[in-house]
């Protein structure tokens, strides 16, 4: 009887100890060789489809989709430029625009769906975080800005999903022409040491200095052309 009582007292504790021991050792197995994962998402093939030149309607629609009614083309839609400016293989569009009357507050809203940048404000990557981003760049009534809408997939900036967009100050100087990255590389012989060219460029002067606007990977920035540079034939 005494032994049975003792057993009755010990058994529950023994069971607890066993349970914990079993739990501790329950893994014991080696991590299995991973099952073959399904293929990761594939980036769209670059320019798989030859896209037609932009029409007035296309550009208006592209701007409206990205910016709503906050901007309108400055000097007509004939100045719209296309190219793969951010180097993702999808066609983008760039158009000089002016702020629509009465829309400045909306344009400069800190939670707006576009990013406002100044092409002259920041150094290229490799020179540290830009000064310009610290104080927000704002749109002024008289500004003429370069509106850029990044493309998505094979339809590029015409795709309904293409909404990533930028308003860039100091990026609309003459001649305002898009050039493939390869053209620029032929022209300047090699990539300027302080520019990270990932896509096509936009030739645009800043004041009287010829240069080009390019995507750094995070923003649009202006870079001067070498002084002995010759104009690139379209």
């Amino acid at each position: 009887m005494r032994a049975a009582r003792a057993a009755g007292a010990i058994l529950p504790f023994a069971a607890i100890a066993f349970a914990f021991a079993a739990r501790r050792g329950r893994g014991g197995a080696a991590e299995l060789e991973p099952h073959p994962p399904r293929p990761g998402a594939v980036s769209p093939p670059p320019f798989a489809v030859k896209l037609p030149p932009p029409t007035r309607d296309d550009v208006e629609e592209g701007l409206r989709r990205a910016f709503g009614e906050t901007v309108h083309p400055a000097g007509g839609l004939s100045r719209s430029l296309v190219g793969d400016f951010n180097g993702d293989g999808s066609e983008d569009v760039a158009v000089p625009v002016s702020p629509a009357a009465g829309r400045l507050e909306e344009l400069n809203d800190g939670l707006a769906n576009w990013r406002i940048q100044d092409a002259l404000d920041q150094a290229a990557p490799g020179h540290g975080p830009p000064k310009g981003e610290r104080s927000a760049v704002t749109v002024e009534p008289q500004d003429v800005l370069l509106a850029v809408v990044h493309g998505y997939g094979v339809r590029g900036w015409r795709d309904e999903r293409a909404r990533q967009c930028y308003l860039v100050r100091h990026a609309t100087g003459a001649p305002l022409e898009a050039r493939p990255r390869s053209d620029l590389l032929r022209y300047v012989r090699r990539v300027p040491d302080d520019a990270r060219l990932t896509g096509d460029v936009i030739l645009a002067s800043a004041g009287r200095r010829p240069g080009f606007v390019y995507w750094t990977g995070a923003r649009y920035s202006w870079h001067p052309l070498p002084s002995r540079a010759q104009p690139i034939a379209p």
Partner: protein, 396 residues
């Protein structure tokens, strides 16, 4: 009578404890910015390992010849040792139109050298350049303890246009056998020992048995400046770094902010918009006793079967931010980076892989590529809703 009481007590305790012991319900992983151990090591060991992590190395310890910092804690310090900082490193190379080609001497361009004549710089013709911000290491023991198949399962559950890429990378301490990568911006490491040995060499210039060869300076030998025979360290420091990281708690939420109505509404919007497809909220680590790192480590009870909230999937995605660098994952990973785990995000002022984004809204809008649909959902939110989402992010 006393035996009876004991027996009754034993049965009562067993009734409560046994179900818990056999339950598969994961326990919440401990969190805190408090420099206290998660239990993997005793506090005294944790403090000693943290001391090694914080130690400033000099030339006599093997520092350099080229390096980025004198101590792990120089880059992993805010708000406590092991976390993040604003410090970035530079990577560079060339894209020939088809493939990424490493910069001479490797894509990492060290910012410091023990002699001015071997200072590295980005050479002309290497137009692919990027900064990489310092990553958080708090809670990395739990991340290491995630079964690779869990990561594969997360990827397989993502929509095809957003499916993360799972890569397998060498585990140095297992003779180079591979395991699912999860550490570093390119998922270039799968184990904390491998990660530590890599960082000791590449960030501090200190060789160890797993990484015994000094880096070059832009491809040129630095042997003439290397006064300490290799390996500079016998590997004990690498083990201390890994042990420290394994014993850290995961980054905690800002509980007060998280409890606000705005943060709670923002939390729902986070899921509603689809951010949680890649910034995965909940992951459970492998059961204790599981042998991982190709046999080199066994998950202890303190790290096993724990529920963590990394807000990341530890997979590679192309979200249009470039990077352009290839490390362990092959050319298909050139423009992909690991989803940034958002735990501890409120301690960062500079965001994304290059630290170039300075506010939350711009950071969100910079996402493109695979994230396009999700970001378009964000764009359709009202200003008030966007603010709520940002309040939620600030609680992480």
């Amino acid at each position: 009578m006393r035996t009876l009481r004991l027996s009754f007590l034993g049965v009562a305790v067993a009734a409560f404890v046994l179900p818990a012991a056999f339950s598969d319900t994961p326990a919440e992983a401990p969190t805190g910015f408090d420099s206290l151990t998660n239990g993997f090591t005793p506090q005294t060991q944790f403090d000693a390992d943290r001391g090694v992590f914080e130690e400033r190395e000099g030339i006599a310890d093997g520092l350099g010849p080229v390096y980025n910092a004198q101590s792990c804690a120089e880059c992993h310090q805010n708000p406590v040792t092991g976390a993040i900082s604003q410090v970035t490193e530079v990577r560079a190379g060339h894209f020939d139109g088809v493939n990424f080609v490493d910069h001479p001497g490797g894509s990492l361009i060290n910012d410091r050298a023990i002699d001015a004549s071997i200072q590295e710089r980005v050479l002309g013709g290497n137009e692919v350049r990027t900064f990489r911000t310092s990553l958080n290491t708090l809670g990395d023991g739990f991340v290491e303890a995630i079964d690779s198949n869990t990561l594969v399962g997360i990827a397989n559950g993502q929509p095809s246009g957003m499916r993360g890429q799972f890569i397998q990378v060498p585990v140095l301490e297992a003779g180079g056998l591979v395991r699912g990568g999860r550490f570093g911006w390119k998922n270039q490491h799968a184990s904390l020992i491998s990660f530590s040995a890599d960082a000791y060499l590449n960030e501090m210039g200190i060789t160890s048995p797993l990484q015994p060869t000094e880096n070059t300076s832009n491809g040129n030998s630095t042997a003439a400046f290397d006064t300490v025979p290799d390996p500079d360290n016998d590997g004990t420091d690498v083990e201390a770094f890994a042990r420290f990281m394994r014993a850290t708690k995961a980054p905690p939420r800002d509980a007060a902010l998280a409890a606000t109505p705005d943060a709670q509404a923002g939390s729902q919007l986070f899921d509603q918009v689809g951010c949680n497809i890649c910034h995965v909220r909940n992951i459970t680590t492998a059961p204790s006793g599981t042998v991982i790192n190709r046999g080199a480590f066994t998950v202890p009870p303190e790290l096993g079967n724990k529920l963590i909230h990394p807000f990341g999937d530890f997979l590679l995605h192309n979200v249009g931010t470039g990077d352009g660098i290839v490390q362990n994952g092959g050319q298909s990973t050139r423009n992909k980076v690991r989803t940034a785990p958002l735990w501890g995000m409120r301690t960062r002022g500079r965001l994304m892989h290059d630290g170039e984004m300075l506010n939350r809204n711009e950071t969100i809008l910079r996402h493109a590529g695979e994230a396009t649909g999700v970001i378009n959902n964000y764009r359709s939110l009202t200003t008030a809703q966007k603010n709520q989402l940002i309040v939620f992010l600030n609680s992480l």
